[in-house]
């Protein structure tokens, strides 16, 4: 590692506190690997700061203080990752993408309003409906169509689908959202449009 620390007799002493520091980090983080990494970061920071350490507090106290800041950093990173995984900015992705400008105007209203579909259940009984449905599925973009098919037709869990596709979960949600919008538009113009009953 660095050149100077080995020359400092306190170098070996710092190392001797490692097991204590790992226990301290583990108690806070509850993740062995992360605790090791965090202690490593703290010890490197300590080695750099060592020339300024005046020895007024004990070495262990000083090291623990450095570690405490590194633990807080790590906790913050965990919280950010979790938030990213679990949603909220999935929200921003899903509602703010440019492709939606085709479907919604600048005030956020539907450009073409979804209509009330009359007696949709009766469609299930008609062979012609399933032809239209299949055709509309086929018009979805390849990746979006695949994700939609796995999710809605095969009933797989989103988490598994995203894993297989190698994309994040919130990305998956956006693809599904987009596919649903496209599919309903296709059905409305190719099936429910034909049949469109009295005005609405």
């Amino acid at each position: 590692m660095a050149q100077t620390p080995a020359a400092d007799p306190r170098f070996a002493e710092i190392e001797s506190h490692r097991p204590y520091l790992v226990r301290y980090a583990l108690a806070q983080l509850r993740d062995a690997e992360l605790a090791q990494e965090t202690v490593q970061e703290a010890l490197l920071a300590a080695l750099e700061a060592l020339p300024g350490f005046d020895g007024r507090s004990s070495l262990r106290t000083w090291l623990t203080a450095i570690l405490r800041f590194k633990v807080i950093d790590a906790q913050r990173r965990i919280a950010t990752d979790r938030r990213r995984l679990e949603s909220t900015d999935g929200d921003e992705d899903g509602a703010d993408e440019a492709w939606q400008d085709e479907l919604f105007d600048e005030t956020g209203h539907w450009r073409v309003a979804p209509r009330t579909w009359s007696d949709p259940e009766s469609a299930f009984e008609q062979a012609r409906f399933w032809e239209v449905f299949e055709k509309c599925l086929g018009r979805l973009p390849p990746a979006g169509g695949r994700v939609f098919f796995k999710r809605e037709v095969l009933g797989e869990e989103t988490r598994a689908i995203c894993g297989a596709e190698g994309i994040t979960e919130s990305n998956c949600w956006v693809m599904l959202h987009r596919a649903r919008l496209a599919l309903r538009a296709c059905l409305e113009s190719n099936w429910f449009g034909e049949e469109a009953p009295r005005g609405g």
Partner: protein
Amino acid sequence: MADSDKVDCRKASWLLSVASERELTAQERQALREHLDRCLKCRNYEGQLKFLREASRRFGK
């Protein structure tokens, strides 16, 4: 009419879709409910999503 924190149709359609992937927050649920109460278009969309789900399920059988 400072409705900036309320949902518009664009946002409502997203929430309706993502609700089948994750649980909405209490705030999202309420904002969505308020929007649906006064927007027939989005209520139609909500019904269409249910239809799509059912049609897809049957398509897979």
